[in-house]
Symmetry: C2
Subunit: 112 residues, 2 copies
């Protein structure tokens, strides 16, 4: 079975960089212009713009240009793709631990 | 400020691929050998082994070789890095929505 690329792929890929995560953290507090977002980073502007592009391509942020200012905002719903997948993993894993517990208890009882 | 690479980077990078996520889903149900893991995928073995390597490098899985069989298991704690970051994002975002709500309510009351 071949696995086709999915929207969640680009979400996780966007999250795999500390600069991009830091941008998202700041956008969680409200919309910011590109230059406000760039300020804390000692990075050439083209590299920073590339990070913004990866974020926008993933659907985690949207931007809007008014005059000469481009403003970015978070699309929180997009983060849910990642959260939902991780939560389903946790359920699988915890179910397995529960079965393991039950198994050990049964072993103990049959030995006692 | 320059952002150094962090362990969570390689966790998110490992998650950014449907084959690797599917392998993790199977390992949530219990340890598997490399050949058992490879079976459902129509993929050349070297490509599949490369996916296993990315997973192992991220710390999300560990492997052990016994005789000629290499067995993989999930390291659930490593997934928590990603979960914790996403949960902190959600808190920031929800706090902002709460403030927005309070603000709208105040506006409404001062208008009424």
């Amino acid at each position: 079975m071949q696995q086709a690329a999915q929207p969640i792929d680009s979400v996780f890929r966007a999250l795999a960089d500390p600069t991009r995560r830091r941008v998202l953290e700041r956008l969680s507090r409200g919309p910011r212009s590109a230059s406000e977002l760039a300020r804390p980073f000692a990075m050439a502007l083209p590299s920073f713009v590339e990070h913004l592009k990866v974020l926008e391509d993933s659907g985690l942020v949207r931007s809007r240009k008014q005059g000469r200012v481009r403003t970015y905002r978070l699309v929180a719903r997009r983060l849910e793709l990642a959260e939902t997948w991780l939560a389903s993993q946790r359920r699988l894993w915890e179910r397995r631990l529960d079965r393991l517990d039950a198994c050990l208890l049964e072993m103990k009882e049959s030995e006692g």
